[in-house]
């Protein structure tokens, strides 16, 4: 068969988001990939400069609906750092709690989508059915299923009532039973394993060189987890394990994510048992004193970094976001060479991408000649690797 090109995206059933991949095929084998990002670039970083500190939190939350809590926590931590605010202990616990719930919802979402990508819709249905349990709990606590809006600069906006705690405990019981069961079943299903094993493989060295983060890195044996390495919120007081695997393929990534769900449930239990009393927020000033800070957060997909600078006004002077998918996308490009068409969706899905935080372009301006260059992603990664 002659060579041909197939476009995947920006509107394609495997991608729930508009991204464009162009694959040059030789038969069923991928010869080269051209990734084109930028369809969901909305210019949030710039827009933050036009928002007050209060408004910016909600805008940051909407960088992405899946790990919204990660972004706001990360941002608020940076701002609190600049303003020198001491977040109450109870608020830190609640932040961690919501963070872990978000991790569970996000990993279940991934498991379902992974099933969907390889034509295993039953797994998709089961995983998403059980995900509703955690979404219900989140809705009860925060008032919304997604984009919880729990964070504010200086603490959290809503307190956990006793009833919430009770409901959470029963949700945890259901989750523990069902999630444990289904995830085991999923990993035992040989056709599903067959689609994951050895696919999208990266070595430990590659994982380090390409700068991968989160489950993608941990699946390749890189033992990193900010919750342990650079504790924030309440993680310095909570015991938990970092789950890693060795193989570096998608099966390992699945195992890591499933292991993390179990750890997260453990963390939630610990938090509910040890929830300290006290206020949930300190009052934040409308104007943040001048200064800059960088904050890191272990989002479900890996390390999220926010850099914030204030010039003393009621609006941020600069906000810079480095979200996890951006760090992982190089690994996708790497593991995509020479694969078969059938594996494309699952490899893309493997890092659990969601591009709404990743879309960006780089504008280089030569100070001397004044020449301006806009680089697309592939140009950038080409340069970067050489």
């Amino acid at each position: 068969m002659s060579d041909m090109e197939i476009p995947v995206g920006p509107q394609h059933p495997a991608l729930k988001e508009p991204e464009s991949f162009r694959f040059e095929l030789e038969g069923e084998i991928v010869k080269s990939v051209d990734i084109r990002l930028g369809y969901v670039h909305r210019g949030i970083e710039r827009a933050c400069q036009d928002r007050t500190w209060v408004q910016a939190v909600y805008l940051i939350e909407r960088i992405c609906g899946i790990c919204s809590h990660s972004h706001t926590t990360c941002f608020c931590q940076a701002v609190e750092d600049i303003a020198g605010l001491e977040v109450p202990r109870r608020a830190r616990y609640i932040r961690s709690l919501i963070g872990e719930m978000e991790r569970i919802h996000s990993h279940l979402l991934w498991l379902g989508l992974a099933g969907h990508e390889v034509g295993f819709d039953t797994l998709f249905m089961y995983a998403w059915r059980d995900r509703e349990v955690i979404l219900d709990a989140l809705e009860a606590i925060s008032g919304n299923r997604v984009n919880y809006g729990m964070n504010t600069i200086g603490g959290v906006r809503r307190d956990l009532t006793d009833r919430d705690v009770e409901e959470l405990r029963s949700a945890i019981r259901i989750l523990e039973e069902r999630v444990g069961y289904y995830t085991d079943v999923a990993l035992e299903e040989s056709t599903f394993r067959n689609r994951l094993e050895g696919v999208g493989k990266i070595t430990k060295q590659q994982a380090i060189d390409l700068g991968t983060v989160g489950p993608t890195a941990r699946a390749a044996g890189v033992n990193v987890d900010l919750r342990r390495d650079d504790p924030y919120a309440a993680y310095d007081e909570i015991p938990f394990n970092v789950v890693t695997a060795e193989a570096g393929d998608l099966l390992a990534a699945a195992e890591v994510r499933l292991g993390e769900i179990r750890e997260s449930i453990g963390i939630m239990k610990y938090i509910l048992d040890n929830l300290p009393d006290g206020p949930i927020a300190v009052k934040a000033p409308r104007r943040i004193p001048p200064g800059e800070a960088c904050s890191r957060y272990e989002a479900p997909r890996g390390e999220d970094i926010h850099y914030v600078r204030s010039s003393g006004g009621d609006k941020p002077e600069r906000v810079k976001v480095r979200a996890p998918t951006l760090a992982n996308i190089n690994a996708v490009a790497e593991s995509m060479k020479g694969v078969r068409v059938a594996d494309i969706p699952i490899i893309i899905a493997g890092i659990d991408p969601c591009f709404s935080c990743t879309d960006r372009m780089v504008r280089l301006e030569d100070r001397i000649s004044g020449r301006v260059e806009v680089l697309r992603w592939q140009d950038l990664s080409r340069r970067y690797r050489r």
Partner: protein
């Protein structure tokens, strides 16, 4: 009239949906996906999510329209066979939402395409999305029966639409 009735019935009972994210934050998208899952199971109404816009009757758009996506959105719309309907899901898709003044955002879907039903929310709950789709179905039925605006309003009665003053 008989034939029209049959057509109206078949159209409103078998809406195939194509989902397009024009630059949203994912939350709306996962809620659209969630309507397919056992809790909400829109296959009850014959709704199926189709990958190809050629097979779709309703285009469900989420997210604000970014400058770069505009072209694609139009292309997907033109690939759909008539009669076609658009449901804008989420505040972004309605007006740009929190991204209203971003430099790369054009605004809501209706800046580019004619929207039939607006579903506010950030993100709307899956129930609210279903309620919105049901509205599209009412409109479809009314259009197939060629009731005109008057009839459309009465066919839409019983939904939660407020009669405008």
């Amino acid at each position: 009239m008989m034939l029209e009735k049959i057509i109206a019935l078949s159209r409103k009972s078998s809406p195939w949906v194509c989902h397009f994210n024009s630059g949203g934050c994912n939350a709306c998208d996962i809620e659209v996906m969630a309507t397919l899952t056992p809790r909400f199971d829109v296959e009850r109404f014959g709704i199926q999510l189709k990958g190809s816009p050629r097979h779709a009757d309703i285009l469900v758009c989420t997210g604000p329209v970014t400058k770069q996506i505009r072209e694609r959105l139009l292309r997907v719309y033109h690939q759909m066979p008539t009669p076609k309907y658009i449901a804008a899901v989420g505040s972004c898709a309605l007006s740009g939402g929190v991204f209203y003044d971003c430099y790369n955002v054009l605004g809501g879907i209706d800046r580019v395409l004619p929207v039939d039903v607006y579903v506010p929310g950030c993100p709307p709950r899956p129930d609210a999305i279903i309620a919105g789709i049901v509205k599209v179905l009412q409109k479809m039925e009314a259009d197939a029966l060629e009731l005109g605006d008057q009839g459309r309003a009465s066919a839409a009665e019983g939904g939660n639409s407020r009669v405008s003053h």
